[in-house]
Subunit: 279 residues, 2 copies
């Protein structure tokens, strides 16, 4: 066989080999890893749900208090918002499961057999055509030696078979290349879909949080009690941590109510002094 | 003791009881749940990393192919982007760990003892003052019966003690209320910080993805090969799945290259017919 045809044959077979031995096993592995990824999503969603349910309960306790109803409302709203984001993230998870992993799994199973068949068919067809061409060429050679009267016809036939063989190997190669490209495109398109679903989720999540965070900030600020500073008062044991909350960046302007308030111990100490001053 | 003072005493004690028996155990539980939440975050981050490393490897295979270099680049970029988002999410995780859970854990430990001490101090002080007032009132009653010359002075003293007691119970109540409010505020401020950190992350993530998704879409579209439709051609086994990628929403305009391309089997079938037609 002519070297350029052999070259075509080998590179077409290499493409099938790459789809069979690289792409499809990689896709199979991706489905496995994707299912792990999904499980991690569900676990995160569950952990968030449990955490924010606990926040909600604390919020409900605050709602029942005489002092912290607004803070209770904020805590309950934070919990609701998280639940909302969680159920919105579920859309991403559904897309990932339904539109990526399930398709990828189905595809890889069907594809292994399809590509094996295509490769085998190509191999048989190529060998058949090559053998046929060889046979006709030998026949032509034999006829030329014998000066057969049909040699011109045979020559034409060999030329036609040769041209057909050339068309066959180059079109087969192009077809195999397209099969390969199509599989990478499939993967890229699927992950473009995933990226877009994430993008939409991030946009919605940002929109949801943006107004609420502003509102919570305002509410937390506006409800901070006006305080009288008592500079000599000792730091309460839990004050440094609570007070630091105000410098965490979010509530930069939040006041430190408790630090400046007459704690019961300080109050008691003052009153003890007063009492001792009296009979 | 006067009923309204007893009322003050009981409601102040109820506030301390609520902080000790409801708020602080709830905060302790929240730290535990928060650590679970954090672990779930790390697990998700790890699963995403493993998944997108696999995508990267497939992308690198595509880069080495003759047909799918652009698709390979897109896949590698998708992997890089996910890695970028992952490391950005780490900021949220760090805030959650360092600014919420650690503070909450430290606070709840310190706070239990502080509130117990405050409550005990208030209890002792209240009983001491109440006993003192009772004693002076009995003494006044005894002096009035004896028509003691110091009865006027004693009356003033009882009135003064009574007024001080009133100030003491109402200010102690206010102090306890502020302690309660301060704890709910601490929690709300911390979660406002967390919400804000999430908000910033969503904003950045959206910004990062927005341009890239557009670019990937354009690249995937522009590289789709121009195809000749062959209407009678049978569906290839894996074509329906691949082809559906185009109708998934993201790549709504993506073409279906493979479906319309002469597959090797179809090509072989056509050539077989041609061959059989010839001697």
């Amino acid at each position: 066989m002519a070297p350029e045809m052999d070259q075509f044959y080998r590179s077409t077979m290499a493409i099938y080999k790459s789809i069979l031995e690289q792409f499809n096993p990689a896709l199979e592995n991706l489905v496995y890893l994707g299912n792990n990824y999904l499980r991690a999503f569900h676990a995160l969603s569950e952990a968030a749900e449990v955490y924010f349910s606990a926040i909600q309960k604390i919020g409900e306790q605050a709602l029942q208090s005489s002092t912290s109803q607004i803070l209770g409302e904020i805590l309950v709203q934070m919990s609701d918002t998280q639940r909302h984001l969680n159920s919105d993230l579920e859309v991403v998870v559904q897309t990932f499961h339904g539109d990526l992993l399930q398709h990828m799994e189905k595809n890889t199973k069907l594809d292994m057999q399809f590509i094996k068949d295509s490769r085998q068919h190509y191999e048989i067809e190529y060998r058949h055509r090559a053998a046929n061409l060889e046979k006709c060429m030998s026949e032509l050679w034999r006829m030329e030696r014998k000066r057969d009267k049909n040699v011109r016809e045979m020559k034409e036939s060999v030329n036609r078979l040769h041209a057909q063989m050339q068309t066959f190997v180059s079109e087969s190669q192009r077809a195999a290349e397209l099969e390969e490209k199509r599989r990478y495109r499939f993967l890229a398109e699927k992950h473009l879909l995933l990226s877009n679903t994430f993008l939409q989720f991030f946009g919605r999540a940002r929109g949801t949080l943006q107004n609420r965070v502003l509102l919570w900030k305002e509410q937390t600020l506006s409800r901070a009690p006006t305080v009288r500073r008592t500079p000599r008062e000792g730091q309460l044991p839990s004050a440094p941590q609570s007070a630091r909350a105000g410098s965490d960046g979010v509530g930069g302007g939040l006041r430190r109510p408790a630090e400046a308030v007459l704690g019961p111990r300080r109050l008691a100490a003052l009153l003890t002094v007063t009492r001792r001053g009296n009979p």
